[in-house]
Amino acid sequence: MTDTSHSSAVPTSSLYAHDARTKKRNAAEARFKAYGMVAIAIGLIMLVTLMVTIFGKGLGAFQQTFITMNVELLESKLDKSGTRDLEKIKKVSTFGYAPIIKGAFQTTVDAEGIETALKTKDMAKLLSKSAASQLRDFVIENPDKIGTTVEFRFLANSRVDGYLKGRVTRDSIANDKNITSAQLDFVDQLRAAGVLFKTFNIDFIIGADASDQRPEAAGIGVAMMGSLFMMLVVLALALPIGVAASMYLEEFAPQNIWTDIIEVNISNLAAVPSIVFGILGLAVFINYMHLPQSAPLVGGLVLTLMTLPTIIISTRASLKSVPPSIRDAALGVGASKMQSVFHHVLPLAAPGILTGTIIGLAQALGETAPLLLIGMIGFIASNAPTSIGEGLLSPNSAMPAQIYEWAKRADPAFYERAWGGIIILLLFLVTMNTIAVILRRRFERRW
């Protein structure tokens, strides 16, 4: 008796010494944790690289090089008759303004005491090709200013801008016939005099696109309006249709083969490549229904088709997550099916529905392929609202399509703008997703 009780008290193994199995298990766990951390580290490195690249290449687009100078609006050139008759003033083309700009350059050089061998013709080439039209627009709007001297801020052309941003160097212009080393010297002199400077450029954010020769004037503002109009169409169509469809499927529809088929199809639609929706939109909305090409209305319709499955799936998921006891409770006090859904289930599912909708909208906002197919890459060269006065029906572009368009163009100055456009697009997407996360956190309920 004493023997047996004694032997059972002697431990067969010590808790301090790990046996082989335990060691193996612990090692496996440590390995698994290490894999996880490596995976996260790789992800973070990618993200940081992406962000550094985007911001490094794109931030330049938000700054632009300008040249300020006093321009004497010579009556002898702009209004020979002296009558201030608008029709006659309009007859002077932008070519007629070239001597005025040259004169202004000469005056500035003299006033600042800059010594240069450059001819005024070569000085004027430093300005953007938009300078003359900027001047002309001003004169047509303010004919009474003819004869006076007005201070103007002109865009410098993209080579000068590139020089200030480090994209253009004296080495790189060796074979460039657009700019010479002497001109760069002159730029340095202007810069030292404070006439030429680099500053924040609001026109990149609110302005319209510009032609291949004037990358310095291009902005993403009009495309942003196009995106906004499309999102309005998507929100107005996809949210009510999506919520109604999922509410019917989830709460009212009988469970049978038809609802099963519909369910499978909705899930499949969510996985259909966006370009397919583009072809569908082209065939149905433009070729068959003859809606205008390049219009945000059509873009919005196509993106609605694309967003609907996302909204339906997330809405159904959030309706499902409302506990059945709430429905029972409502039915138990004599609420009808519809009352129980609208008074109790829908309000509880609303945060989830909103989150899904915002995520769907964010997806739609970044979508490019279907827009290319329906021609939502319109070249809109004048600013809102004149260029897109018809809103949903006037041809427009969208932010991702505009970025694609810029990335395609030859001048590296457009390349910078493409990256800048990506920054703006990302800001929108991050903002929308943040709102979605906040909504989800704030209204999350636990039962």
Partner: protein, 265 residues
Amino acid sequence: MYDAPSLGAQVEQQDIKISAKKVQVYYGDTHAIKDVDIEIESKTVTAFIGPSGCGKSTFLRCLNRMNDTIDICRVEGDIILDGEDIYDKKVDPVQLRAKVGMVFQKPNPFPKSIYDNIAYGPRIHGLAKSKADLDEIVEKSLRRGAIWNEVKDRLHAPGTGLSGGQQQRLCIARAIATEPEVLLMDEPCSALDPIATAQVEELIDELRNQYSVVIVTHSMQQAARVSQKTAFFHLGHLVEYGATGNIFTTPQDERTESYITGRIG
């Protein structure tokens, strides 16, 4: 299969509130309730007892057509409430449920204020003419639900913030706010501690003065404490139905005896 349907009726002459005849319930291919005949009296607490899966909750849910919400569920036979067949095509289940209220196993207050929990039923049925009316209904219901004193200072606090027992009494108050004639309770105390259970049982006893209460319970002690009539269900059959005292002291069927003595269950 059962042999004492008239026993209770002989003990005390009572009005019949609900009478069920040859009720069959199917879940898809499963025959869940078989040939149940029962007469439930007004102003009486009737307890349904029996082992899990015996069909007592299913039968309870037939009495206010909550089973309609389950697609695969099919009910046959007649259930007569005050002389009207509740499964008649002309009956709107929504109207029926206003008349036959229900309290569920798990307290399920709406995630709204205590006030709105009670006021919801009267609002959708148009029972209150004015705000003052509604206030009165809310107070009366909470008083009858024996929870008024605990919540009167925080009527606008969320109902989900109450303790389990308080939530269940809130749900009972919500059920009686619509002035039902029958109150169905599906294991109302299974999620409650003994003290909360005692409070709810006390409440059920008071409710008997006005309503016909049908309670499903797993606890035989509870059935013995609160009910006047008891029905024992087993495998979808109503085995025995009679005055609670008789069922627990002199059961007629040996299955009933086995169950109440703990040999099956």
